[in-house]
């Protein structure tokens, strides 16, 4: 939720089809720890070929030497061959990393002066966009449970709406949930005050 630094790079929000007097004031993303788990898994996977190589040398080559009745050793080009396949493996992990990052980065809530636009990137080709206007919001609940969430400042946020189908907006493992709640409430209050003002003025 790096609102200020992000907006200074002047992103183009035309894909959101905002109204003329509407601006994005906050972007809400999940905490980096969600993606860190994925990245750590890929980092471990990067060492997998070395384990396979050691096992190959220790077990299979000895087995082959015995079965072919003679001494058998890997040829000179074996390290180069290993480099080739290891490079392809790293490239595969690198692509997986960016597929994961894309899903993480595009799963976002845009908070404008009028509404919340929730973009849920479930899979790479599974994308859901929902809108909720501030005058439909009933409550915003923040849940920070445990030592690590408290220490790293992340938690779950739930926006309850007044719609008939009980559509609630939920995002788990959100960065700075209290700050998000504060911004949503302040916008909600501004909309409420504006409506009251218009109502009083028209009477």
């Amino acid at each position: 939720m790096n609102q200020h630094s992000f907006l200074s790079s002047s992103p183009d929000y035309s894909a959101l089809h905002l109204e003329t007097d509407e601006h994005v004031i906050l972007e809400v993303r999940k905490h980096w720890i969600v993606f860190a788990g994925h990245a750590a898994g890929l980092l471990l996977a990067a060492f997998f070929p070395f384990i396979v190589m050691v096992l190959f040398r220790l077990v299979i080559l000895n087995h082959v030497s015995v079965l072919v009745h003679g001494s058998f050793s890997l040829p000179d080009f074996a390290p180069t061959l290993f480099t080739f396949f290891y490079t392809l493996w790293i490239l595969f992990l690198w692509i997986s990393f960016f597929v994961g990052w894309t899903k993480y980065y595009l799963d976002v809530w845009y908070v404008t002066e009028k509404r919340i636009i929730a973009v849920e990137q479930k899979r790479i080709f599974d994308r859901e966009i929902s809108n909720i206007r501030f005058d439909r919001i009933q409550d915003v609940t923040v849940e920070v449970d445990g030592f690590i969430p408290t220490f790293l400042d992340f938690g779950n946020i739930k926006v309850q709406t007044a719609s008939e189908d009980d559509l609630d907006f939920i995002m788990n493992i959100v960065r700075h949930p209290d700050e998000v709640r504060r911004v949503i409430f302040s916008q909600h209050n501004e909309i409420g005050d504006g409506k009251q003002g218009v109502g009083q003025g028209s009477v």
């Binding site: 992000f6 929000y13 080009f77 080739f84 490239l91 692509i95 980065y105 595009l106 973009v119 790479i124």
Partner: protein, 96 residues
């Protein structure tokens, strides 16, 4: 036993029995003939798959990334590092 009418020169194709296959796969005679073309084909197939996946990613970044600086940095990093690894793979095939 009558002598064979076929030439007795060793075959370049591998013996497919498991221990002999591994041994013959790594033999210089097999690899000098089949090694480079096979690896180039593997690299080519991988590159085609890479192009498909990266075009999907670029589409998402352009369509939904809202032109953010984060997406731009990711794009540059992704292609630079990928190019570096493809160069290493290509050089590895060349030196086998």
């Amino acid at each position: 036993m009558q002598p064979s009418q076929f030439p007795t020169t060793p075959s370049l194709l591998p013996n497919l029995n498991p221990p002999h296959f591994i041994a013959s796969f790594f033999s210089a005679s097999f690899f000098s003939v089949w090694g480079k073309p096979t690896l180039f084909i593997i690299l080519g197939i991988f590159f085609i798959l890479y192009c498909i996946v990266s075009s999907v990613l670029v589409y998402h970044w352009k369509a939904y990334g809202m032109g953010s600086r984060g997406v731009f940095v990711a794009e540059v990093l992704f292609f630079t590092v990928s190019l570096f690894f493809f160069c290493i793979a290509g050089v590895a095939v060349f030196f086998i």
